[in-house]
Amino acid sequence: MATTITKTETLVGKRIRRKEDPRLITGTATYVDDIQMPGMHHACILRSPHGAARIRSINIKPAINQAGVVAVFIGKDIEAVGPVPCGASLPGLRVPAHSILAKDRVYYVGHPVAVAVATDRYIARDAIDLIEVDYEPLQAVSDPEKALEPGAPAVHPEWPDNTAFTFHQEGGEPEKAFKEAEVVVKQRITSQRLVPTSIETRGVVADYRSAEKNLTLYSSTQIPHLLRTLVAQMLGLAENRMRVITPEVGGGFGSKLNVYAEEALMGFVAMKIGKPVKWIESRRENFLCTIHGRGHVDYYEIAARRDGTVLGLRLKLIQDLGAYHQLLTPAIPTLSVLMMPGLYKFRNVIADIVGVFTNCVPTDAYRGAGRPEATHGIERMMDLLALELKMDPAELRLKNFPGKGEFPYLTATGLSYDSGDYAAPLKKALDMVDYHKLRNAQRDAKAKGRLMGIGISTYGEICAFGPSPATPAGGWESATVKIEPSGKVTVLTGTSPHGQGEETTFAQIAADELGVSMDDIIVLHGDTSIVQYGIGTFGSRSTAVGGPALYYALQDLKAKIKKFGEMLLESDDVTCSGGQCICNKTGKTIEFAQIAAASYRAMKLPPNTEPGLMATHFWEPPNFAFPFGAHIVVSEVDRDTGQVEIQRYVAVDDCVNIINPLLVDGQIHGGVAQGLGQALCEQAVYDENAQLITGELMDYALPKASTMPYIETGHTITPSPVNPLGVKGVGEAGTIGCSPAVVNSVVDALSHLGVRHIDMPLTSEKLWKLVRQGGQA
């Protein structure tokens, strides 16, 4: 029987300000670029200006002759370094050799060609301008559909069809469903390429100590341990001689859930020159060389009965992969397929993915990774079906949810939705906007010529990655809890929080379980020499998988505290709470600090008990978690200019138990901001020569604080059986629910003009044209 704790005041569930904030707000946090070391050198990377070209020759002499330049390395120098790893495996996947510097050919603008190393960063930057590369430009292709056409330029000459893989998934009897359907709705829907644009770009400092053969890599990453394993392999280093430290990370959004050429390259350089070396990615490089997100062209069909019952779903998904596979590139669209039925009872589904090489930077996980695309697709299709059937879009959705009693619900794509009551958040959101009144207001507005629309989306999200068999590198998470001899508590988590706030939420969990003050707890992460192996922070997993690991470690620790308490109080009737053990008979107490001291001093030990107070738990989740929710957007399009105004934004999410509502709101707000970015303004545009023409913040339009609508949040709570904390992830939910609600509202605003669908982003010119041409784009 575990220790019973009488909690006096619980912290879980409270709006507690982040422990991280003081250092972040006062500018005293340490990012990679803040790291200084004696003798540190600086690297700058020369990158391809061409989408595709053969390298005829490279002359590094003028650069190397420059005072202060200590080395220049090119492709032939790095033969011994292993390829940039792709962790995803699919049957028949074609994996191009991905060396850390280009060899005889470049495949996208930004492809690293050479690295110059100098005594300061200015000299290094000047040096790359002196490297002479003789390129023979080749035809490039940037549009994935064009890349599939016969005769298109081959990105990799060995695979002229530009097809990296095809992937088929089927459930139920889709052909039959479409044959029997009373109505079939079809639409081509795109989810454009996006640039994750974390405020802090990537950066690496590598420090090699040749006498010890130890390499320390400081990197702005979401996955310190996986990075160590994989970079050690690339460099042929013993893994235990490599240390990865993740200092403060200024945003990742999936773009730092990766192993990049530069991380191994800096390790290589440090080993070659015997000096520490720093590389900080410029904003321009961040646009050109850090992974992009999305990049879908989807062809959807849904089959239904006239009464609105959905029967079947067919999807042809074209994924723009870019020129190479980064860590998870080919896996991302498979998540879209898994989630393609959304929250609806599609019993018959069929999907085919074509993964296409283009002369662009690789796509990979970006906030939502595959699920925003899937949600956007199905939620647009539900609206198209509602339009076709002249049904209310809310009613159509409510009609097709599995009932509360049908959980765990097995989907036609083979997932088991753990728990849910999908009508609950939608009904709550409808109440929050006073839906019927709102529809009347819309009718009045339209009668007056105003273009007002109401958009609904519901989403289900696969998160808490994930059961290990379903993930490329293990899906468990780890935690260690130590009570130090002074009684202070140290938590080590294998997750790698970088803005999510687990230093706070994990302290709340530990404080409640141990009954100690949050101020006595510190949460450490992101150093492979301090923290036991862990998987990292991505896929809305840290609290949902790392949280339970911590919870179980705390239970082990509490059992041990109790044993010491019983020994020290000389009683077998002891309760541990409020930072002390109490003998229930005598009322005598002993503080954790004294117990801790005694456990380390170890003059006497309880039977079968080791000295010290420390517990480690590796937790393997039995399933993913599937949070869900509903977003409603009210928007109005300016008839004269095509500008969209978001008048109301309502987000109701069910992520079950909330550890810190302040942080959950923050995740929803940030997620919605990125969803609005995709819906309204962001787009990575490559021209026909595969030049990125939105390659700076002057052209790539991000949402800004001043353009954000007020977001009204609400929650429903449907208990989840997946983990003991009853939590699901919330990091990506806002993004996933957002874009279809926005687009649905704008299509709704223009539907009387005959508009059925608009691809993102909803730029003002695009909408203005639709209004002017009466719906004909």
Binding site: R121, R125, D126, D129, R284, T641, C681, D699, E765
Partner: protein
């Protein structure tokens, strides 16, 4: 994003600055909001950067009763920041259009350091000031080590990123008229969603008397390589009663005969149409403010 090597001087007098730039291949630095990004992208690589920020002479904002305009003039030192112009009590009361234009530039950080001299000298076709300066028929006071001259704004700006400035010459001040009582004004802008610059921006000034529109000035930025005065619009509206229909009819001419810019954010066609829409909006607001 590191610029090429350059020499840097920060003179404290105008004379010193003029002597330094007379030596050749020098670029002057005001707020740096346009120059520094260009240098970081290595699209500009001056050998010598002469920082004007310590020259007190260039910061003055004052009124001059006689001056360049019959009703008096405001002299805005080249180094006056967008924020100073936006918030100056003098500018707000004597030339409120310019304060309104300034308040539409970029964000707070940019307005805190960017200057009117820098913006005017840079002549970005999407910058906001030129629309206002055209509508105000402003003058640009230039100086070299040898002498001074004053040019009307539409002669100073030659084309996109190109002005009448000689290599050894500085913008010393921008001169705008003290606004006549009762003049209505407005600046209306469609912002480019990424940079915040104007896709189109229209500045209008109007006066009314006895139910008739007696005076109209319209400056347009963003549409063409160079900001311009929409004189057709002005003529069409002058003498009318300024009704909604009059405004629409006049505004419809705002983009007539103009070779419109086109880019990712707005096609030439859209820009033209938006020029009409924002001209109408600017005129409508200006008229509502005139009395």
């Amino acid at each position: 994003m590191i610029p090429q090597n350059f020499e840097y001087s920060a003179p404290t007098s105008l004379k010193e600055a003029l002597a330094l730039i007379a030596k050749g291949d020098a670029k002057v630095l005001a707020g740096g909001m346009s120059l520094i990004p260009l240098m970081k992208l290595r699209l500009a690589a001056p050998e010598h950067v002469v920082d004007l920020s310590r020259i007190a002479d260039l910061k003055s904002v004052h009124e001059d009763g006689k001056g360049e305009f019959p009703g008096g003039a405001l002299h805005l030192g080249a180094l006056a920041t967008h924020f100073e112009i936006e918030s100056s009590a003098l500018v707000r009361s004597k030339c409120p259009l310019l304060a309104e234009v300034a308040s539409n530039i970029g964000d707070v950080q940019v307005r805190n350091v960017g200057t009117i001299g820098g913006s005017t000298a840079h002549a970005d076709p999407a910058a906001d000031y030129p629309a206002g300066l055209m509508a105000l028929e402003a003058k640009v006071h230039l100086t070299t080590a040898k002498g001074e001259r004053t040019l009307p704004i539409d002669q100073f700006i030659v084309d996109a990123l190109s002005t009448a400035l000689k290599p050894n010459e500085l913008v010393r001040e921008i001169i705008v008229p003290v606004e006549t009582r009762g003049t209505g004004f407005s600046y209306q802008k469609l912002a480019q969603p990424a940079s915040g610059f104007a896709v189109v921006g229209v500045a209008a000034r109007v006066r009314k008397s006895a139910g008739k529109v007696t005076f109209v000035r319209v400056g347009v930025t963003g549409l063409a390589g160079k900001a311009f005065r929409a004189t057709r619009v002005e003529k069409l509206l002058e003498g009318t009663s300024g009704s909604a229909a009059d405004i629409q009819k006049a505004a419809a001419q705002a983009a007539e005969g103009v070779d419109a810019n086109t880019d990712l954010h707005a096609s030439a066609d859209y820009r033209r149409q938006m020029t009409k829409v924002f001209t109408a909006r600017a005129l409508t607001q200006a008229l509502s403010r005139a009395d």
